[in-house]
Amino acid sequence: MHISKRDGIATWKAWLIRLIAVLIALVVAGFVIMMVGSMRGVSLNPIKVYMSMADGAFGTSSSWMITKMRSWITIRDCMILTCIAIGLAPAFKMRFWNIGAEGQMLVGAIGAAFCMINLAGKVPTPVLFLCMVVFAILAGAFWGFIPGFFKARWNTNETLFTLMMNYIAIQLTSFCVALWEYPPGSNSVGTINGAGKPNTYIGWIGNLFKKGFDDDYMIVVLIVLFLAALMYIYLRYTKQGYEIAVVGESENTARYSGIRVPYVYMRTMAISGAICGFAGFLAVSAVSRTISIDTAGGRGFTAIIVAWLAKMNPFVMIGISALLTFMSKGAIQIASDFGLNEYVSQIITGIILFFILGCEFFLNYQVHFGKQKQ
């Protein structure tokens, strides 16, 4: 057997290989679920399993109300995952391993929650939203800038640095949760400005246009689509995006062409962190209306995989996020339908990602069997 690098591959072939990988993954995941089920004495039919998953994600076998709600929730969660991945795109394009999205998102969430708790009712609502967004973005940008600065200045290892920043952010979040605990003793912040509390629904994004309406999922979708388009344009059609690509490909060429590499590192990481921070704002204002260490819930890590698999293309990210969100929503449904627990979603996500990751090999390399040519 001999392996050689491919010169390139037709787009349709590439997508065919990926499709096959996803299909195999689904079959394997189906088998795993069956196996798991049989161990628990539940006999599962794979088709039924996937129908159950569809029900979990889109409420296909439920009433119209539930269908609508579940679909919206799935779409919204997909969009938030995409938003984080969009934030990672510029860093990865620069070959800067920003593993710190989880932390950048959390500090963004802290910024937004801070404004929601302390400014609600004291400033006009539009100003409050502005503050929430600005605080979230600044906090995230700062969290991204720090590892960028140290990489630029002293060439510290960014993978390990950003990883550590996550856990500092998690502890910072725990600190804020303890600080803002409500009701006392609950060890959580509770729903901020929730029903029956002062400043009801203030700072909830669904409440931006229609008072008292808290489930306007469309706003999130529109914002993230807009961000996706913006990032697509930024990376492909702006001078800064071009600089990022050159630095990512070759630092020496970048220096030769007059790009100040350290500056680009810091700027790009601030942008990357800012968008992840903004995702934190969305998670607080549009989803949970509270803050806890689960506000990011591992999505900062999942988004790394999404961004990487999408090759930094924001629109492809939507597709991959959709697949992963579908799987996790579906798996939770399987769990409740068949008496398994919800962690089955992580198993399935893991299996699918292993296959998609592995199939990239066949896009980049050719495998020749038989005798090696000299």
Binding site: N157, L160, M165, Y167, V177, I304, I305, G350, I351
Partner: protein
């Protein structure tokens, strides 16, 4: 000032807590050091620790509570330990094998693959852990009493004797040093073994060469692929013991899904940096991390919120080490040069 005095008197107790958590971290870190020495940065350590922990628990659960129960015999202590450790090692090494196959043979990105392994491993761990809980009739009900006690057994005579010698000091040195289960000491021995292996054997030398300069190692006739596979799989197996140690020694043969294993897994990755890839430094580093983890508990006058800030310490310290190492530029303290890089001989 009062707080300080109370802190001092609680030091022995803090040390004990530190050793328990520290050993979990130490196993994780030792495995990861072995893996990283081959140039593989495996961010799947938390997932691997989950795999190890659940395999250790589930295997003994089946042996102790189902098999022995059905046959109506008393569990054999030796078998309990062998089954538990073998299952742990195998399951965790399988995690390493998935990672190795993807990153070495299929040349996938190491960071992304490792993170996926963490998702997968924590899924497996918590899924089966949850199932075991259900099976046993509720959280905290899974109980591999015999095995767990075997893991936590220590010589009370020894502890008492040494405590007696040091009674005048106001604390029991015996309790501080000898009141832990055998895996605690095994971890220390393992660290010493790894040090010896890296420094004193040709295999260790070859392995380090693979991680430092893969092309040079290849040119010297070292089978790079073999070394990477073996180091990563065995390393994963070692990390897996961390999960089992947590399950058997800390939560006493039960399962909980509050993500503590994951948090400790990331601390293990941090500890590798803190120890600058040196097994011996990882020993005291792990106890320090364990103590930093629990420090908030022993420092008087902290509010609940400021306790959370204290828990940041291990990570903050790690960042400082990262910075310090980058600034000091001491060659011996740097990460293996090829860490995280894929290797393809025909790459031009």
């Amino acid at each position: 000032m009062n707080g300080f005095v109370s802190f001092l008197t609680s030091l022995p107790s803090l040390f004990q807590s530190g050793v328990i958590f520290g050993t979990v971290i130490l196993f994780g870190a030792l495995g990861e050091i072995l893996t990283e020495k081959s140039g593989n940065l495996n961010l799947g350590v938390p997932g691997i620790m989950y795999l190890g922990g659940i395999a250790g628990l589930a295997s003994t659960f089946y042996y102790e509570n189902l098999l022995c129960h059905r046959l109506n015999i008393a569990p054999n202590p030796v078998l309990c330990i062998i089954i538990c450790l073998a299952a742990t090692f195998l399951a965790a090494a399988c995690g390493g094998l998935i990672y190795s196959f993807l990153t070495i043979s299929l040349r996938t990105n190491q960071n992304v693959t490792g993170l996926t392994l963490t998702i997968f491993g924590s899924g497996i761990g918590n899924f089966f852990g949850g199932s075991l809980n259900t099976l046993a009739g509720g959280v905290g009900q899974v109980n591999v009493k015999v095995t767990s006690e075997l893991f936590r057994a220590f010589s009370t005579d020894l502890v008492k004797t040494v405590d007696g010698w040091t009674a005048k000091l106001g604390f029991g040195l015996g309790t501080m040093l000898f009141s832990y289960g055998f895996l605690t000491y095994f971890a220390i021995l393992l660290a010493i073994f790894l040090w010896w292996f890296f420094k004193k054997t040709r295999y260790g030398l070859s392995l380090r060469a693979v991680g430092e300069n893969t092309a040079t190692a290849d040119a010297a006739g070292i089978n790079v692929t073999k070394y990477k596979y073996l180091a990563t799989c065995i390393g994963a197996g070692v990390s897996g013991f961390g999960g089992t140690y947590y399950v058997m020694n800390y939560i006493k043969g039960t399962w909980e899904n509050q993500g503590t294993i994951e948090a400790l897994g990331w601390l293990a990755v941090a500890l590798v940096i803190f120890a600058t890839w040196k097994p011996l430094r990882a020993i005291w580093g792990s106890y320090l991390f364990g103590m930093l983890y629990w420090a908030f508990f022993y420092i008087g006058g902290l509010t609940r919120s400021s306790q959370e800030l204290f828990k940041m310490l291990p990570y903050v310290v790690t960042i400082f080490v990262l910075l310090f190492v980058a600034l000091r530029k001491r060659k011996e303290d740097q990460p293996p040069m090829s860490l995280g890089l894929p290797y393809f001989r025909e790459e031009r």
